[in-house]
């Protein structure tokens, strides 16, 4: 295992050494000490390595991630996993606002709660939250899945496209053009797999599915006069 003291060695040195890891690197496991809420930890990684951050992180941890598994042993600041392409981010504590914004792929797991705008404009990422999520989550979500074992705040899925939302608890309010949908066998199957993969405590049949009512983003000939 490779160990890195962020406070002593600095952020540029950290990200530079992580960027240097190739697909066939032997240095597959990294431990980062003293993160102390620093910004941009382990951003832009592109190798199948495991990075364990021993503490809480600031803005944009794991942003643009490809392939890597990033495990935050603390809470994560705003914009964690922003524009992630693949790989995995696990947050032991809570996640701040706009977790996984615009992320295209991979999996983000939050063991605590996620704040407002979780999964905003998500484009294919899967996000699993053991606790609750804040208001305006998955705003303009395009694809991917947001799985919430607790409650969702105001305006879930406002102006969403084809992202899917599964909530076990209550939804404070649904956003514009977001509606409750039926749970079919394929959804239960998906939940079974993602619950197992993310290691959260929940059963597929406890969830309710929400998604786009498809009245906002489709052209409707009855509205032709308005253009």
């Amino acid at each position: 295992m490779q160990s890195f003291d962020l406070e002593a060695q600095g952020l540029r040195a950290l990200n530079s050494v992580l960027h240097d890891q190739a697909a066939n690197t032997n240095q597959t496991v990294w431990e980062i000490n003293n993160p102390k809420g620093s910004h941009a930890i382990a951003v832009g990684l592109d190798a199948p390595i495991e990075v364990n951050v021993k503490g809480s992180t600031g803005y944009y941890c794991g942003g643009m991630n490809k392939q890597a598994t990033i495990h935050v042993h603390g809470s994560a600041g705003p914009g964690t996993g922003e524009n992630m392409m693949s790989g995995k981010i696990v947050i032991e504590g809570d996640a701040s606002q706009y977790l996984g914004a615009t992320a295209h792929g991979g999996l983000i797991v939050v063991k605590g709660n996620a704040s407002s705008r979780c999964g905003i404009s998500m484009k294919g990422v899967n996000i699993v939250v053991q606790g609750n999520i804040g208001h305006m989550s998955a705003f303009m979500g395009q694809s991917g899945n947001l799985v919430v074992c607790g409650d969702a705040g105001d305006a879930l899925g406002d102006s969403c496209y084809e992202a899917r939302f599964f909530v076990r608890g209550s939804v404070k309010s649904l956003g514009a053009d977001c509606e409750k949908k039926e749970m079919r066998a394929e959804h239960l199957e998906f939940l079974k797999e993602i619950i197992a993969e993310s290691g959260v405590d929940a059963k597929p049949e406890e969830f309710t599915r929400y998604g786009s009512a498809r009245t906002l983003y489709n052209f409707d000939v009855d509205n032709a006069g308005a253009y």
Binding site: K36, S56, G58, G77, D94, S96, Q97, H135, M136
Partner: protein, 309 residues
């Protein structure tokens, strides 16, 4: 952006270190806004006395023999100490109005930064590190305090545009965000006779709270109605004689992290500001909810009041 820090001590043994802790927190937030910085510190009180902090661009001449002149004018005891561009005046509480009238009439170039039994505000243009050094903030002790580092977006970088703003006796306000209806609100408040000095948005927010409280609202009620009347982005932290409060606008874009232990309640724009506080690894850390007014007080239990939509 702007950076806010706040520290409310439950453990009295930490009080001598308040200035030191608050300075470290504020310096950590420098890159959220490096153009001006300020601190409001609640550093204890003397029975029957109030403190005024004044600022002068030309402190040598501005504060020269000011204590003598004031003593003569109000025929009372005046203790003055000058710290860099600020002077701290301690006077009899029942002579405060008289002293303020005298200063306004005879020394219009002096700006009043704060008035209160316990509150003192020091703020200037410059980096948090330099501002804290100029006012020797590290040596200050107290029960609670608020710091702010500014990245100006709505008005000029001046001392008067720096935070905290004094909103009433022993009350102050700091702001991260930008108010979008400050021009119309400034016009309305001025028509009601409220004095607003600059084109700064936060000063309007502060004047709004002052006006609401003069109309009979409590600070909590004034903060709740600010959620209706102020448009824009804000995370506000307010200081009172015995505690502090936090409120975020309903959108809550502007970051806020809180931490609580048996020894303190702390506020930071980012978790980074809190990492060196004692026992932080075992603290309860959370983000304050949007449109919810929180209060911590030395004299009563903490409260969190969600504003009905």
């Amino acid at each position: 952006m702007c950076g806010i820090v706040g520290l409310f001590l439950k453990d009295k043994s930490l009080e001598p270190q308040l200035g030191e802790m608050l300075t470290d927190m504020l310096v950590t937030m420098t890159d959220r806004g490096p153009d001006s910085a300020g601190i409001a510190i609640y550093g204890g009180e003397t029975e029957g006395k109030v403190k005024l902090t004044l600022q002068s661009d030309t402190p040598e001449s501005g504060f020269a023999k000011l204590d003598n002149a004031l003593r003569k004018a109000i025929k009372g005891k005046v203790d003055m100490s000058v710290i860099d561009t600020h002077a701290r005046l301690e006077i009899q509480a029942d002579q405060m109005a008289e002293a303020q009238a005298f200063l306004k009439a005879n020394h219009p170039d002096l700006r009043m930064m704060s008035h209160g039994e316990s509150l003192e505000i020091y703020k200037e243009v410059g980096l948090p590190k330099n501002v804290a050094e100029r006012f020797d903030v590290r040596k200050m002790s107290g029960s609670h305090g608020i710091g702010h580092t500014r990245m100006a977006t709505e008005s000029a970088v001046t001392t008067m545009g720096a935070h905290p703003f004094n909103t009433g006796l022993d009350q102050c306000l700091v702001h991260n965000g930008s108010l979008s209806n400050h021009n119309s609100l400034r016009r309305s408040l001025r028509r009601l006779g409220v004095h607003i000095e600059t084109e700064n948005d936060t000063e309007v927010g502060a004047a709004y709270l002052t006006w609401k409280m003069q109309e009979g609202a409590t600070l909590g009620e004034a903060l709740e109605s600010s959620l209706d009347d102020l448009d824009g982005f804000f995370t506000f932290v307010v200081g009172t004689k015995d505690g502090f409060g936090v409120v975020r606008d309903p959108i809550a874009c502007k970051p806020a992290v809180m931490a609580e232990t048996d020894q303190f309640v702390a506020f930071g724009s980012e978790y980074r500001a809190l990492v060196n506080l004692p026992g932080i690894d075992n603290a309860r850390v959370w983000e304050p909810e949007p449109a919810t007014v929180y209060f911590w007080s030395h004299t009563s239990a903490p409260t969190a009041q969600e504003k009905a939509a």
